[in-house]
């Protein structure tokens, strides 16, 4: 059942395998982990968008996609994540397993080869990435960045983090700024590609039912043969707590306000036991039985969503809510009341038991989905020895009532962000 193995292949290249015969598909991902820095963020973030499109041996974008389609609709996905102070760039491929092909084709090994070509052999002209393509992808990246405005809920959370972490790498945009993207040249992108191959910590991961050997040969081996100089850095750091708490109000034409509260904790993954804080957040706003859902949404009908989550890489607990414009103050007061209730230990043993059951269910379900299982392990390896879902469950079960109250008492309000209507 989803056995995880991790091999250090030297010089910050790791090969992770999650093997399970129940799966029908194979997922191969390559993650490049680098510090999130103002000077490299934009260039690095643009690389997956360019590299994913074609390779020297498949220089035509349409032909490249036809080749993938012929592999039973195999696909290549790509992107960038921000985890703590790390920028994570990834390319991944997904294909059905060889045993489901009509004639036993070795599609998994072929897909590993495709990823190898994308990453190590993009089409170059005079040693440089295609200038026209770079310009096009720059424009699209800027469009994507600006389009973050369209999803008001995600926008509010992002803006609140930017405001709170203004002096912290975590406050940087994971794709850089509009100006930084616009200023990139094909030469800079080419240099960034080479630098990324040299300085990133690389996590190759195979999740599926097939044979991981070709992945090791096609992807891990070429990486270990490169002359690399990985940059050491720490991905999990605490924020500097503002005093008094930061207050930000942004106005735009919206019909529903978004309220985002950040609380600082002193709990970081890889350093402290994060289980009590996770249990606390679960009781406060993690399920339909949580205090925020029951009291703020159901009892007072103040909002459609009101939930809490933790960011163990920055020691933050975040509460977000969508509220009617004129009910913001009521919602805020109701939320504060529930946080206070947690500090006072106003929860029953039954609620505690139920919160544990809910998390047990969530962690056990991870075993059934390749992408979730991969994410579970790869997020952890950034800062700690990875634990299996079962191990995590054992830690959560061991959390005591006092530990939860202690976690709640350590919460310090760091910022209040409000996105509201222009006439509100």
């Amino acid at each position: 059942m989803g056995t995880f193995t991790r091999t250090s292949c030297g010089n910050e290249v790791y090969f992770n395998c999650i093997l399970d015969s129940r799966f029908k598909t194979n997922r191969i991902s390559v993650q490049f982990v680098v510090p999130l820095r103002e000077e490299t963020a934009a260039a690095y973030a643009l690389l997956p968008n360019i590299l994913r499109k074609r390779s020297a041996n498949y220089p035509d974008f349409s032909a490249f996609n036809r080749m993938l389609a012929a592999m039973y609709g195999a696909y290549v996905d790509y992107g960038v994540d921000k985890i703590g102070d790390a920028q994570v760039l990834y390319l991944l491929g997904n294909t059905i397993d060889d045993r489901y092909t009509f004639d036993g084709e070795a599609v998994t090994a072929k897909l590993a080869g495709v990823l190898r070509e994308l990453i190590f052999h993009p089409p170059l002209t005079d040693g440089c990435l295609d200038a026209e393509e770079v310009e096009l992808e720059k424009t699209l990246q800027i469009d994507n960045l600006l389009a973050e405005l369209n999803d008001k809920r995600a926008y509010a959370v992002r803006r609140s983090v930017e405001a709170l972490c203004a002096d912290d790498p975590h406050g940087l945009s994971k794709v850089g700024t509009k100006e930084q993207i616009a200023a990139l040249t094909a030469k800079q992108l080419t240099d960034a590609w080479q630098k990324l191959l040299s300085e990133a910590r690389v996590e190759v991961c195979f999740t599926g039912c097939g044979d991981p050997k070709p992945v090791e040969e096609e992807l891990v081996r070429p990486l270990t043969k490169l002359s690399r100089e990985p940059v050491p850095f720490v991905a999990n750091t605490l924020i500097r707590l503002p005093n008094p708490p930061l207050s930000t109000v942004e106005k735009m034409p919206v019909t529903q306000a978004k309220l985002v509260l950040h609380y600082a904790t002193d709990t970081l993954a890889g350093r402290e036991n994060t289980a009590p804080l996770q249990m606390m957040s679960m009781l406060l706003g993690g399920s339909p039985m949580s205090k925020l859902f029951v009291h703020v949404r159901e009892e007072k009908s103040l909002c459609y969503y009101c939930l809490s989550r933790i960011n163990n890489y920055k020691g933050l607990l975040t509460i977000e809510s969508g509220v009617e414009l004129h009910q913001v103050e009521d919602a805020k007061a109701a939320i504060f009341e529930q946080v206070e209730a947690m500090r006072q230990g106003a929860f029953t043993d039954e609620e505690l038991h139920q919160a544990t059951l809910y998390l047990e269910n969530a962690y056990r379900s991870l075993y059934d989905a390749q992408a979730s299982l991969e994410s579970h392990y790869l997020r952890q390896v950034l800062v700690q020895e990875p634990e299996a879902p079962e191990e995590r469950i054992a830690k959560l079960q061991a959390v005591t009532r006092d530990e939860i109250i202690e976690a709640a008492q350590k919460l310090s309000l760091a910022s209040i962000y409000l996105l509201t209507g222009e006439e509100a």
């Binding site: 059942m1 129940r22 029908k24 598909t25 974008f61 349409s62 996609n65 036809r66 993938l68 389609a69 012929a70 592999m71 039973y72 609709g73 997904n94 059905i96 489901y100 096009l136 424009t139 699209l140 469009d143 994507n144 600006l146 389009a147 973050e148 405005l149 369209n150 999803d151 008001k152 809920r153 735009m252 034409p253 919206v254 019909t255 529903q256 399920s287 339909p288 039985m289 029951v294 949404r297 159901e298 009908s301 103040l302 909002c303 459609y304 969508g322 509220v323 009617e324 139920q354 544990t356 059951l357 809910y358 047990e360 269910n361 969530a362 056990r364 379900s365 075993y367 059934d368 222009e422």
Partner: protein, 436 residues
């Protein structure tokens, strides 16, 4: 009751099917080795069911828009409290959704599956509405409606449906409006409930790691026997034409967003499935990432990665939709129409057809790799009157000629509509304007 085995030799997989004496259709897909169980209890009622009568009533009852969704919210409440509290005892994660033509209640669990199933079957079969509890929900649903009013993806889609359809209630928002839901009463909810939540009109699906005998025992214990009711939705005349050619709304977005729809003749059952698969192949060949059109539009900066297509269908409606962000939506519409018209003349090649069919097979198979995917596929297929494996069988019988014929009979420019969300200028909060 006896369950029969439905097997796919092609996939070497099977599930169990049976029709209970209450009329409930039951589909069980044991997936040994998986951790979780995913169950769905669904009723064939959605937002399009706005007027109906039964074999017991003489006249049609008209109900306010959004009532199916409202009913979904209210069923979670019982005299003893909240249905969520039943699931909290087992750790299961429960939820529900209302779409245009169905309402489903579901849970995902890794332990105490029988207890969770008992909770699911119990709360859905025991409605409890009072004036006060119905009143209270208006605040929460009102917030939900407002949240969607700020969601441009949703607005561009809803506006398109309003433009494509004259009469069909698919043109009305699933949750209704703040105004329409203000007319919902406990009595109306009960009337809707007793009409549509008859086991004769419902489907139960369970997929994952469970013992079918134990599940059937719970089913037998919990099903409430009632006289069967036959529902007759009020017929409506939907012309073949579109209602409007273009609809525009301004919102706080970074760039224009569009949804372009082609209204096609509605189909049912296996005919609908065949059409859906043919469209999927066609759309992949003509507008997918492998196509020359996609390359031209993408490289020309006309579209970006958000571009996509969808075959949108249900009871009494079928349309093909394209959507995404585009600085000049009209130009994208013109180029798409031109490419589709040209393809109608030239047809598509055998090579393209074979490749896209193979890719579609891979996509369908991928949908069955997860417990949730299997449960969803079983429910969708059953609600549409087909079997989950029919997709694979029909896909294997598709022909190039059939797909080309489908192409020639579709994508009529005169039966298309374009919905656009324009970026608001600073303090511009202008309401939706309609043209055409």
């Amino acid at each position: 009751m006896k369950l029969q085995t439905i097997r796919s030799e092609r996939l070497q997989e099977e599930y169990l099917y049976g029709k209970h004496e209450t009329g409930l259709e039951i589909l069980l897909a044991p997936m040994p080795g998986f951790q979780s169980v995913y169950a769905q209890f669904g009723a064939k009622v959605g937002s399009i069911d706005t007027a109906f009568k039964t074999d017991l009533s003489a006249d049609y009852t008209e109900v306010p828009a959004g009532i199916a969704h409202y009913l979904e919210h209210k069923l979670f409440e019982s005299e003893d409290g909240d249905a969520f509290s039943l699931f909290a005892k087992t750790g299961a994660s429960a939820n529900a959704f209302t779409s245009f033509d169905r309402t489903c209640y579901l849970f995902s669990a890794t332990q105490q599956v029988e207890e969770s199933l008992r909770a699911l079957l119990t709360f859905v079969q025991h409605p409890y509405f009072t004036k006060e509890t119905v009143q209270k929900e208006q605040g929460i649903i009102g917030q939900e409606i407002q949240m969607y009013e700020d969601d441009p993806d949703w607005c561009v889609f809803c506006n398109l449906l309003e433009a494509l359809y004259h009469e069909h209630p698919v043109r009305v928002n699933i949750a209704g409006t703040v105004e329409s839901i203000s007319h919902i009463t406990a009595d109306l909810l009960y009337e809707c409930y007793h009409t549509y939540y008859n086991l004769n009109n419902m489907v139960l699906v369970v997929a994952g790691n469970f013992d079918p005998d134990a599940v059937m025992q719970v089913v037998e214990e919990c099903l409430v026997k009632k006289d069967p009711v036959t529902v007759y939705p009020k017929p409506f005349e939907e012309p073949q034409t579109v209602c409007r050619d273009r609809v525009t709304q301004t919102m706080s977005v970074s760039a224009p967003m569009f949804a372009l729809g082609y209204k096609e003749a509605p189909l049912e059952g296996r005919k609908l499935l065949q059409a859906q698969l043919e469209y999927e192949v066609l759309l992949d060949v003509l507008t997918g990432e492998s196509s020359s059109l996609y390359r031209e539009l993408y490289n020309g900066g006309w579209i970006n990665q958000t571009f996509g297509y969808e075959v949108f269908s249900g009871r009494g409606y079928l349309s093909v939709l394209f959507s995404g962000e585009a600085k000049q939506p009209e130009e994208v519409r013109r180029k798409l129409q031109q490419a589709l018209d040209e393809a109608k003349e030239t047809g598509i090649t055998q090579e393209d057809f074979d490749r896209s069919r193979k890719a579609l097979y891979g996509r369908l198979l991928r949908g069955l790799t997860r417990v949730e995917g299997v449960a969803n596929s079983l429910m969708s297929a059953q609600m549409s009157g087909i079997s989950m494996y029919d997709s694979f069988d029909i896909l294997s019988t598709l022909t190039l000629e059939g797909v080309c014929a489908r192409l020639r009979g579709s994508f009529d420019a005169a039966r298309s509509a374009l919905s656009v969300i324009e970026p608001a200028k600073s303090t511009d909060t202008a309401p939706k304007e309609q043209e055409g």
